[in-house]
Symmetry: C2
Subunit: 370 residues, 2 copies
């Protein structure tokens, strides 16, 4: 065993290749314990920049994290296969895995499937729908070791995953994105990239309820910036109009949602509009949480079940949503640290891959991430 229990330290890498953001995590393991965790994320909109750029992006993330050391294991999960850079998911899964293979030796790569098992690259390529969009399972694997019965609400830049965990086991019923969208386990609303026209049909302006434009004029990042939920540094995606991320530019984008501009609507009016959209976005998440929580309650009727909130929207979206339902929130940042909590799938799949070498006992040291 070159990088096993007896050959320390073990450098475990976790990759979460999304359509808009690619996240990578390094977990350093020594003496059967997690010694260090580092997370990097890069905004890489694959349908815009082109899939051929992916190997280069992965290479950069690798160098940034490993700085010359060798990865003993590489855990992989993805959602980029859904991007319209690919005609179908099969093509996407194959391309993502080939890209990972071009950067890391194939024999250290493991791919998580939607049942939480690790597959070889060849196994994953033989059954691509089994590993497509399995990144929620990477998060679920990790959280289930920390809080054995809970609901995970992970609000990322683009989507919200709602994962029921009972007695240490994820019990999600959706086997793929389609089924998850049907049962509330996936809500296509996020903290940064969501087109506001996909959240609301009308908004209040000057005492009227006004229909909105269906163009991509503004995104949730504009709402959350003007409401001080995020800073300009957190606004890590493109703006809808290619302009800047200043407060004034965000307000200008918001005004365009009702075909107006900042000569026509003052800041107070635009903040009311933003608050209204924020509330409707919380409603979207509440609807999914309620549906999944009720199922989970039936599985664990005698327990008080908290929600573990994760992702960049964990405080102002996930926590706010679960509060409305009287559910206690546990911030994943308090369990594994703030940076790691924003990129939970990459952390989860790194530790999963590492523990397949070092043993299950590794999980008990997760809290050292904090």
């Amino acid at each position: 065993m070159v990088n096993g229990v007896n050959s320390e330290p073990l450098y475990a890498v976790g990759l979460d290749v999304g359509g808009a953001n690619t996240k990578a995590c390094l977990v350093k393991v020594g003496s059967g314990r997690i010694k260090e965790v580092k997370v990097v994320s890069t905004y890489f909109p694959i349908w815009k920049r082109g899939k051929d750029e992916l190997p280069k992006v992965l290479q950069q993330l690798k160098e940034l994290l490993l700085q010359g050391f060798e990865a003993g294991v590489v855990g992989v999960t993805m959602t980029a296969e859904l991007s319209d850079a690919y005609f179908c998911k099969r093509e996407g899964v194959h391309h993502v895995l080939n890209s990972v293979k071009s950067v890391f030796p194939e024999d250290v790569i493991s791919v998580i499937d939607c049942d939480g098992r690790l597959l070889s690259v060849d196994e994953a390529k033989a059954d691509p729908l089994r590993v497509a969009a399995a990144n929620w399972m990477a998060t679920a694997s990790m959280v289930s070791k920390l809080v054995p019965t809970c609901l995970v609400v992970d609000v990322g830049s683009t989507t919200t995953s709602i994962i029921p965990i009972a007695y240490g086991k994820p019990i999600a019923i959706g086997k793929n994105d389609l089924e998850k969208l049907a049962c509330g386990e996936l809500i296509y609303t996020g903290a940064l990239r969501t087109n506001l026209a996909a959240i609301i049909n009308r908004v209040p302006v000057k005492g009227m309820m006004v229909r909105v434009s269906s163009e991509l004029f503004a995104t949730t990042a504009d709402v959350h910036l003007v409401l001080n939920h995020i800073s300009m540094e957190d606004y890590t995606c493109d703006t809808a109009d290619g302009r800047g991320k200043s407060r004034l530019e965000c307000l200008a984008r918001l005004s365009r949602v009702v075909c107006a501009d900042i000569d026509m609507l003052d800041e107070g009016e635009l903040l009311r509009l933003a608050s209204f959209i924020y509330e409707r976005q919380i409603d979207q998440i509440v609807e999914g949480v309620r549906e999944v929580y009720e199922r989970l309650k039936r599985e664990a009727p005698n327990l008080e079940i908290p929600a573990v909130v994760a992702g960049i929207g964990r405080r102002f979206l996930a926590e706010e949503a679960v509060k409305r339902l009287g559910i206690r929130a546990i911030d994943l940042a308090n369990l594994i640290g703030s940076e790691a909590s924003k990129a939970a799938p990459s952390v989860g799949v790194a530790i999963l891959a590492a523990s397949s070498r070092v043993g299950e006992a590794l999980w008990s040291s997760i809290s050292s991430l904090r």
Copy 2:
């Protein structure tokens, strides 16, 4: 008078500078009558291609239409000022008018305002919000001469205008897009470019009601192509994923709306999904039509009030919507010809500009367009 009643023929040009499509119309006038009408349209997404290209596009349209003849009058209307190519409408109106001035002599240019009056370029630039998005008025001016009391329902690639006309006068209450969006006179839904996520939150798939992705994965052009409402030639905008416009590629885009692909959903399933979205799009238009029609009814209580349907979606969207409310539809194509009916604002503003020279009598020959 160089190009007036006594100097024939008069070549009148109408320009409708939209954010996505720019349309131009040539009306040839002789002996106080319309002799010929020609319409050209070009897909020019100004926020993608850049506003600096606009003069070139206008020059090309001019050459195509006039083929060396001089324009005696040029009527202008626009909606491009709303595009996020511009920071605000003032900037947009100024840039559009300067672009027109770079192609036509300033003294032949007239700009229609939202009261149906013609302004000089300087007057329009002094009060940009008065001419912003006034293209509905160009259509209303024309239709009011043909059907004195009616509701115009003009479904273009991007938006739907609903205009009440009573006793020969447009009686819209919205003074700008914001007010129109509030009162049902403008619905931001169109036959080609609308993001499906702005129309529906859930769709039926395999017996489930499934939430949809909020990405720009597919547009109404995909729905209307697979339902045989439009041909590949009518699909005159970009596809959401940059791929082709074949039936198979449209179906593939539709499958992605629920995060699936065509390996997962068969054609029957996708056609049911498309039909569902089509019905919801009609509902959007019905809602606006009902609101505006009820107001119009109060103005003209004793008349049977038909709807004049226009634009590229006039048959499968506008006519379908008014039918649901038991309103008789008159196809604008039967009044002014099929090509002209798809670009009514450019035709209307051309004739308005021409009649300001030749006299109101010109309107009585509109039906020769047919």
